[in-house]
Symmetry: C2
């Protein structure tokens, strides 16, 4: 099928990636090239309505300036992409916020709303480390560990918008408690915050002395045995989680993103070895770092907006086609 | 898009489900109604070529009698559906058998070749327990434990044809060895053969005294504490496997098939409770028994053949369209 595509012309899209700390905005051309970027502080402590106002003001300003054809908004939490409602977002203090409807009313433009990690995965699929790959798993490892399952350039939603939660696979049933309420989730052992916490715990560092996962990794390289152990445990837990994902999904590739992926070979080399050790009959996926970094979310939000335009154009074409057949 | 569909007319399809013991054949109309069924013994001990000859003779006889428009063949093992090659089948003694090419040459008909569990899942999706459901997990629990991920009536292949292996999720890292080479796979604890083996082990039954998983379950109901423990361990292992699948895939439904699903509520009730206990943020899928039983594989093979005809018709339409555009 050749999908009728609205000629992009000179109208770009506005893309927003709403995080707990910053709202990143970008203006993108129809082929995903950024024309402009800016950001605002989320300041979620002001309450859910103020956060939404910040987003709409940012989008409104860009809309007046760049005259976009559509707007894409990526948000963290539980997002119902079909209705454009954010069901729940701990980071933003939102519960059942009809983001799309309010944004469309305010901006007078078509708006697509998506889950930030799935949007990031879509961006990696089309513009980043997932290019040329029919099926891959996108796993951002940062303060938490998230995930998205990408199939032919689209992200698997799941029956309730919850697919892809690699971080909450239980790999140590008697392991440390996780924020989700379970014990021994991948996130509770292999996330940047879990690595720092565990190192502090084992070394007895006072809480006021900051240590990051990056520092733990550097100390491990410098010969600190406790740091090496914590890093090894994190890699093993992540490998166990990936093993489960590979067994169920058989992806061609696993794309590791997030802050921890900046460790590069120090993370990917032992992770690749640990995963290979665990595979029995399963085919080994390629294990590669993400390419788009912190821009993945806003690029993905832009792609959601472009998809929306394409779909709108296709729907119109279908109507025309149906009329002609009558 | 409205897919051009070849008018089914009066030509049925021939469907074969090749198992390690029997080859089940069915002749199906275009809406999946069986016109005729028969079966032959696989007798895999005769060698791979003889098995293929049996299949082709069975299909050839039905083709002469029913004049089908296409043939669908479901086989166990590692199947490359795109090329119609069975890469490896322990049950049939096959390695790199180009089933589709040989069958098409022999029969002079279009042939679709698929993986037996994915084919069964497609049948459950369109004709059985997955009807009306966008995303579900099909888990046949029998001698082994297999799985298929169904999305919009189609089965997820994975990057190497290996998606859906719920039975090989590791849930007890120090658990019993599994045939796949790992330890503590769901299959090594919750399959019918694992349940029987574990009961024999704990009770010290002599090897010559047969006991089935069904009997273990009956003894558990009758108050046999060892049987109850074995059943409980199996349910817990299966629930841990399903928890991982739900966390990654967020299916709307989980369809339990295979011989063990005949235990009905004795399996599904405690399994549902055990899964519910383990969920933290994940939405609970519906947990239901399969509807098509041992017919799922051959019905699925028939659906693959019907899909092939539909695709062939659609390809032709595209060619016509392309010609017109030139």
């Amino acid at each position: 099928m050749t999908t009728p595509r609205r000629p992009p012309g000179d109208r770009p899209v506005v893309a927003l990636d709403v995080g707990g700390t910053h709202v990143k905005a970008a203006v993108l051309t129809a082929d995903g090239t950024p024309l402009h970027t800016e950001s605002a502080d989320t300041r979620a402590e002001r309450g859910p309505d103020a956060v939404l106002e910040t987003i709409l003001a940012l989008a409104g300003g860009l809309a007046r300036r760049f005259r976009p054809a559509a707007v894409g908004i990526a948000v963290p939490g539980i997002v119902d992409e079909a209705s454009g409602v954010c069901r729940y977002s701990a980071n933003l203090g939102w519960r059942d916020v009809p983001v799309r409807r309010w944004a469309e009313e305010e901006l007078g433009l078509p708006v697509a709303v998506g889950h930030d990690v799935r949007a990031g995965g879509i961006a990696e699929a089309r513009l980043g480390a997932g290019r040329g790959c029919r099926s891959f798993l996108f796993v951002p490892v940062g303060t938490g560990i998230a995930g998205a399952v990408l199939l032919n350039g689209r992200a698997l939603l799941g029956g309730h918008g919850g697919a892809g939660e690699v971080g909450h696979l239980v790999v140590r049933p008697d392991g440390p408690p996780c924020a989700c309420g379970a014990r021994g989730c991948v996130e509770a052992i292999a996330s940047a915050s879990a690595i720092a916490r565990r190192y502090r715990q084992l070394t007895g560092l006072p809480p006021q002395q900051q240590v990051s996962a990056e520092q733990v990794q550097q100390r491990a390289r410098a010969g600190d045995a406790v740091a090496a152990r914590v890093w090894r445990e994190a890699v093993a837990a992540l490998a166990d989680g990936l093993l489960a994902a590979v067994t169920l999904l058989d992806p061609q590739r696993v794309v590791i993103g997030g802050g921890l992926s900046r460790a590069g070979a120090a993370l990917l080399d032992p992770l690749r070895a640990a995963l290979a050790e665990r595979l029995t009959f399963q085919a080994a996926p390629e294990l590669v770092p993400a390419e788009l970094g912190h821009r993945a979310g806003s690029l993905g939000a832009g792609l959601l907006a472009l998809d929306l335009l394409e779909r709108t154009a296709a729907d119109r074409a279908d109507l025309v086609g149906a009329g002609e057949r009558e």
